[in-house]
């Protein structure tokens, strides 16, 4: 064989092998939630179903559809409207459930994910940056990535792909997935008070997401009773058996750092979190969810509402926990950094990444200039929040301890 022809043939074979390897490569969840990339997600629903979904956006009715990402198609996925206050008919938040019609079906290992519509967030970035800060602080939190979403080949707007709190998340973040997972359902201004032995009432608040047939809400009820009624001298030991109180301080520090007013110590009671109980134990883990209102008020008190919630109020009565909380706030401030810090870097990258897609999003409820204006306000928050935190710390160190 002519050596030159052999080299050409070899190169062709190598190119084909590379192409085939790329085409056949299994995509990973890391790629799907890669926030360095502005993703493109295409959904195909029958027009009748899409119209019904929009008309009945308050319902959780599933419609069958096809999901396409990077050329990979999954048919017969379940698609439904989702959200609390962010539900919308013109730009519905969506849940994509791969196992809805095919038991055990997964996509890149995930059983489902959320497409957050950012209806309540003019910057589109609150969820992403808050969750990133939670993760940077070592607290298990869902991954997010921006995506341009096309419905039946029409650009429907900029959404965020949000990792669903389900078994794959639990396995990855907590190392197990066979415990009890509950989503906290906001019903009223509730702050961890003991409301008596009403399993049904607690069952409404704590919606089981695993082990639905053996929800065991009674264990939560007993924990709440303990938090409310255990004597001070036993609080740290007995409550600490169920919840890592130092981790709780860290969780609260992140929420208050980002000026979250709709979280564990929300202004209208607890909201937006999951509770996981490890298998064969009575130990709980908090998991943040739906963080789309923070990063707004850089003067937000670092002690915001800590005295309203029974759990946080009682915990903060112990000097060692109060000290731990302030230390955590300080650490979070350092992790976030001020001007040109880590959080601003994340912000600037995300802003550049999505700006054009936001401008093209005709279904967003606000104008393009309002987006820019809101992003500028967020930039200011990120830059000045550490300074504001320092000032509050100084005031606290000069005044009475919390």
């Amino acid at each position: 064989m002519n050596p030159r022809r052999g080299i050409v043939l070899g190169l062709v074979v190598l190119a084909m092998a590379t192409w085939l390897a790329q085409a056949g490569r299994t995509q990973t969840p890391e790629e799907f939630f890669d926030d360095l990339v502005l993703h493109e997600v295409r959904l195909y629903l029958h027009p009748v179903d899409w119209r019904k979904l929009q008309e009945n956006f308050e319902d959780n009715t599933y419609y069958p559809g096809e999901f396409v990402w990077r050329g990979r198609s999954v048919v017969n996925v379940g698609i439904r409207s989702r959200g609390g206050g962010s539900r919308s008919d013109f730009k519905p938040g969506l849940k994509i459930d791969f196992k809805r019609y095919i038991a055990g079906q997964r996509f890149v290992g995930e059983t489902s994910f959320v497409l957050d519509n950012h209806i309540q967030d003019a910057t589109f970035m609150r969820e992403r940056l808050t969750m990133a800060l939670f993760r940077r602080a070592g607290i298990p939190a869902p991954r997010t990535a921006f995506a341009k979403v096309f419905i039946n080949d029409s650009y429907w707007g900029l959404y965020s792909i949000v990792e669903e709190i389900e078994k794959p998340f639990l396995k990855r973040s907590l190392g197990e997935d066979i415990g009890w997972l509950y989503e906290y359902n906001w019903l009223t201004d509730y702050n961890f008070e003991f409301l008596g032995f009403d399993d049904e009432l607690y069952g409404l608040m704590w919606d089981p997401k695993t082990r639905e047939n053996n929800a065991d809400v009674r264990t939560i009820l007993e924990f709440i009773q303990m938090v409310n009624e255990v004597p001070d001298e036993e609080f740290l030991e007995r409550v600490g058996e169920h919840l890592d109180l130092e981790s709780l301080m860290r969780y609260l520090a992140v929420e208050n750092y980002v000026s979250e007013w709709d979280g564990i110590v929300g202004s209208s009671g607890m909201n937006n979190f999951y509770l996981y109980r490890y298998n064969n134990t009575k130990r709980f883990q908090l998991i943040p969810w739906d963080k789309d209102v923070g990063l707004t008020n850089f003067d937000h008190s670092i002690l915001f509402n800590l005295d309203r919630n029974v759990l946080t109020r009682r915990a903060m009565q112990f000097p060692e926990l109060a000290r731990k909380y302030l230390d955590e706030v300080q650490q979070i401030a350092e992790l976030a950094g001020g001007p040109d810090g880590w959080l601003q870097g994340e912000f600037e990258f995300a802003y550049r990444q999505i700006r054009q897609a936001v401008f093209e999003d005709r279904n967003k409820p606000l104008t393009n200039s309002f987006f820019d204006h809101s992003a500028e306000a967020m930039r200011e928050f990120i830059q000045y929040r550490p300074t504001a935190i320092g000032e509050q710390m100084d005031e606290l160190s000069n005044g009475p301890r919390p």
Binding site: Y44, L45, H46, P47, V48, D49, P64, G65, E66, V75, N76, G78, R100, Y101, I102
Partner: protein, 440 residues
């Protein structure tokens, strides 16, 4: 849920008392009617009253000369029922039907029938039609009535041999709708035909909130008694055969028929369909002496044009089913002419009525036509995951007299894909029901 014996006895007593009273109100006891029938017919012509008059025979009837006849009807049915597992808020006793109606004829060439369900908020008119019969082979019927399809579907509830219709009779058979129909005997009465056009394809195909699923529908049925033109043995003289079909268009956004158990538990939910809806059915019915045998097979096919996520065509949805049942009047009455107890329970005669045993086996399955690939529960799947309901019904009927009937049924149902069922959550379950019926 258990039916309390005391409640059962009380309700049975009420119905029986009504039944005892009814013949007493009539001018002649039911048992004597048969004997004197021919004699009376002869007298009738001579003694026909003039003007308005009221006649109490089998039914209360108001008449004007021979120009108008108004027969008054009452139908009451109540069920003691128990199903395991039981749906929420499932009542022990259900006063299922409270119907009043009139039927008769006017101007010699017209027949009519109107019947209303009492105590319902919507759809109170059950039947309401007029039939013009001047030309026997070309009668014209208009109004609201049953589409000509399926013997079980066409049989009135008061005349069913079981408490519940067959699954195919209820789920595939179209039921009532508003329409216009030609019908009559043809070819020396060897055949009878019915052919009509209807606004939709019957109330049985309506959704739970009374919305139609089908569009304008053509329906036709032809039946025959082979004994009229074939040299069959005498025992086969009551054999009747029939075939029927409906054809309609299902517009965009409407749904298919669905699979439901006797207690309305969905085991195959509606799916989106568009295009032709075609029903086909064949039936046979034979009533030798005190016995009866009846069988039907039905199929409904819904096209799914442009119903995939990307609006391509999907394979048709097909529902297929059959039933076979037999009955035996152990007290020896003839079945063919309608059960008339030899020893009825009336004020004049304390007979034990007529007793009948019945057994039915049936199957109804939904799924894709020519399925290929993975079967899925997704309503827009290429291959719809099939599901079926196989049922056995064991029945015991008591006919106290012509007005009173009590039916007891045990129904064993087996659901193929019970995970999709709303409440059963297991493949096999039993329904027990006792129906008390008073018809006048």
């Amino acid at each position: 849920m258990q039916i309390k014996t005391s409640q059962l006895i009380l309700a049975s007593g009420v119905v029986t008392a009504l039944g005892l009273c009814a013949p007493a109100l009539l001018s002649q006891p039911a048992a004597q009617e048969q004997k004197t029938e021919s004699k009376k017919k002869k007298k009738k012509k001579k003694e026909e009253p003039k003007g308005w008059y009221f006649q109490s025979k089998n039914r209360q009837s108001l008449r004007y000369n021979d120009q108008l006849r108004i027969d008054f009807r009452v139908k009451l049915q109540g069920d003691f029922q128990s199903v395991d597992p039981s749906p929420e808020d499932h009542p022990l006793f259900d006063f299922r039907r409270k119907r009043v109606g009139v039927e008769g004829e006017f101007l010699r060439d017209f027949e009519y029938e109107f019947e209303w369900e009492m105590g319902v908020e919507r759809n109170a008119l059950r039947d309401g039609f007029v039939n013009w019969r001047r030309i026997r082979w070309l009668q014209v019927q208009g109004g609201k009535f049953r589409l000509p399809f399926g013997r079980d579907t066409l049989t009135g509830m008061a005349n069913l041999d079981f408490v519940f219709r067959s699954r195919i009779g209820f789920m595939i058979g179209p039921g009532r709708d508003i329409g216009l129909m030609l019908h009559g005997p043809v070819w020396d009465r060897k055949f009878r035909y019915e052919a009509g056009v209807f606004r939709h394809d019957g109330e049985n195909a309506f959704t739970g909130d009374d919305k139609p699923t089908g569009g304008t529908t053509l329906a036709a049925r032809i039946r025959t008694e082979p004994e009229r033109y074939l040299p069959l043995p005498k025992i086969l003289e009551t054999l009747e055969l029939a075939a029927a079909s409906t054809h309609g268009e299902v517009p965009e956004g409407r749904h298919s028929l669905r699979g439901r158990t006797t207690f309305r538990d969905n085991y195959f939910p509606r799916v989106d369909v568009k295009g032709d809806r075609v029903r086909l059915g064949v039936e046979a019915n034979w009533k030798p002496g005190p016995f009866s045998l009846q069988a039907e097979a039905m199929q409904v096919r819904d096209q799914r044009r442009q119903q995939s996520f990307r609006q391509t065509d999907l394979p048709d949805l097909v529902g297929r089913g059959w039933y076979l049942f037999g009955t035996w009047l152990v007290t020896g009455e003839e079945k063919a002419a309608g059960v008339r107890p030899k020893k009825p329970l009336t004020f004049h005669q304390l007979g034990w009525g007529a007793w009948e045993v019945a057994l039915r086996n049936e199957l109804l399955r939904y799924g894709s036509r020519n399925p290929t690939g993975l079967a899925l529960a997704s309503p827009r799947a290429v291959n719809l995951l099939s599901s079926s309901n196989r049922a056995w019904t064991f029945g015991l009927n008591w006919y106290g007299n012509r007005q009173v009937k009590i039916q007891g049924n045990f129904v064993r149902e087996k659901i193929e894909d019970f995970n999709r069922s709303d409440l059963s959550a297991r493949p096999i379950f039993w329904t027990k029901v006792v129906r008390l019926q008073f018809v006048m």
